[in-house]
């Protein structure tokens, strides 16, 4: 059987696709920013001498790092509303699942980056009379963040791909929109190919940035 290529129907549905692209970026960027922000504190929390801080931080990271993002999204959409007093829409469920997942991974990147800084750097700051906060902000982070950049870029790549998981709860991101188009026009080859290309266009710059940065840091 000869397949008759029909990209017309896909491009005719461009408004659906662009909506999907927008939602993918919205979900990805929001979870990235919240993940970076909270991940920083969770990562520092794992350093705390108080077990009231480091224990929950550790549990949080292990739970969200060691369960599939798909399960987290499904859980927040189908299970969470049953035990919580308020409703949750598809975007909120996807953002919660991916956001917590990203927080956990970013916490590990922060922890690893900070750990890679020699103890003598902390001590030198401390010996000058710096507070913990000053040691972190003036001495440790400026050195650690540079080393973390490739890991964060990898995280962005993974996260942008994971946003497609939100299609299982019918959040209108790119993957879900492609599915809609394919069932409507019976053109799965064309619609999924275009979706894949769009994902590639969005994600590949980050991947190339990783190569570039890794090469630069190797020098």
């Amino acid at each position: 059987m000869e397949h008759v290529w029909d990209f017309q129907t896909v491009f005719a549905s461009w408004s659906l696709l662009s909506q999907g692209l927008f939602n993918t970026l919205k979900l990805g960027l929001l979870t990235l920013i919240t993940g970076l922000f909270f991940g920083f504190f969770v990562g520092l929390g794992r350093y705390s001498r108080s077990s009231w801080v480091n224990f929950p931080a550790g549990v949080f990271v292990e739970v969200f790092r060691n369960t599939p993002a798909l399960v987290q999204i499904m859980w927040f959409y189908f299970a969470f509303p049953i035990i919580s007093p308020f409703d949750i829409d598809t975007f909120a469920a996807a953002a919660l699942g991916l956001g917590l997942n990203t927080t956990a991974f970013c916490a590990e990147i922060f922890r690893g980056g900070i750990q890679s800084i020699h103890r003598g750097q902390w001590e030198a700051g401390k010996a000058l009379g710096m507070t913990y906060r000053e040691q972190v902000l003036r001495i440790i982070l400026p050195q650690a963040v540079v080393r973390m950049i490739p890991a964060f870029m990898n995280r962005v790549v993974e996260l942008m791909k994971m946003t497609s998981l939100a299609s299982v709860i019918a959040f209108g991101e790119l993957m879900h929109q492609a599915k809609t188009i394919s069932t409507y026009h019976f053109n799965p080859i064309e619609s999924y190919t275009v979706a894949a290309l769009l994902f590639f266009l969005v994600i590949s710059p980050f991947a190339f940035l990783v190569y570039h940065l890794e090469n630069r840091f190797r020098k």
Binding site: H118, G120, A124, A127, L128, G129, M130, T131, R138
Partner: protein
């Protein structure tokens, strides 16, 4: 008149099972230069690190200018980080491995303390940093990064960084142990100059010759206690304790002879 700068009483430090300091009593007076010697594992570095609270003593008292550091509770001294931060700012520390901040230039390294900790205005912390770089003899390297300097230069920057805080006392933790032999001299020259200017200095060192010629008082530590203490001549040349004698013999086992034609 001797003015006490830093002292400790019955200072003990235990790491899990390992008792590293077993009760140290020590008084360091203004302008004094004190060298602490001893085999590795004798507790000399730990003692130094307890004096500026990079290690928190397990028990015992430390006083700066006669004032007890920490708060006393039920006969024990309680050390809380917020009480220790201002103390550390008054005690300069130079590390074996320099620990310069690699992301900052030499000048920024030296400015960091006066800027972040003392919160001086820019004009002041900058001129202060330059004057201490001049003191250690490398003002021309101010815009270099630590990685571009030799070990000896790095250690001199680290000394300038500590001096820029204008501390009451300087602690040197094996400041020359990580240096190539030909770079040791330039760092010892700087330390000697500081001592001669009357800065109170405590140095943990393996350079016995330097300890002899520069330190007024020498302490020999063994197994977490001070075994012998006295003038540099008494401890290094005419030691009384068998352990001290053994330690010094080990250090002078291999020595170059003097040239035959010299007297």
């Amino acid at each position: 008149m001797s003015l006490e700068i830093l002292s400790c009483r019955n200072l003990k430090k235990q790491f899990v099972e390992n008792q590293v300091l077993r009760g140290i009593d020590l008084q360091i007076n203004k302008g004094e230069s004190l060298a602490i010697i001893g085999a590795s594992g004798s507790g000399k570095s730990t003692l130094l690190r307890c004096l500026n609270f990079l290690e928190i003593p397990s028990s015992g008292e430390v006083s700066l200018r006669g004032e007890l550091i920490g708060s006393r509770q039920n006969g024990q001294v309680l050390y809380q980080e917020r009480d220790l931060i201002p103390i550390r700012a008054k005690i300069g520390m130079v590390f074996q491995h320099f620990n310069l901040f690699p992301h900052m230039t030499v000048l920024q390294n030296v400015m960091e303390g006066p800027r972040t900790v003392l919160k001086l205005p820019k004009s002041e912390y900058e001129s202060r940093a330059i004057s201490y770089l001049e003191k250690v003899g490398i003002p021309e390297k101010r815009n270099a990064y630590p990685s571009e300097l030799s070990g000896g230069q790095q250690q001199r920057v680290a000394i300038a960084r500590a001096l820029a805080m204008e501390p009451e006392i300087m602690l040197f933790d094996e400041a020359t142990s990580a240096l190539d032999p030909e770079l040791v001299g330039e760092v010892l020259d700087v330390i000697l100059k500081l001592m001669q200017e009357g800065l109170t200095c405590v140095l943990v060192t393996h350079e016995l010759g330097f300890a002899y010629s520069a330190a007024q008082r020498v302490l020999f530590m063994h197994n977490g206690v001070v075994l012998e203490e006295g003038s540099a001549y008494d401890v290094l040349v005419e030691p009384q304790q068998p352990r001290t004698i053994e330690f010094l013999r080990g250090h002078s086992r291999f020595q170059l002879p003097s040239p035959k034609n010299s007297q």
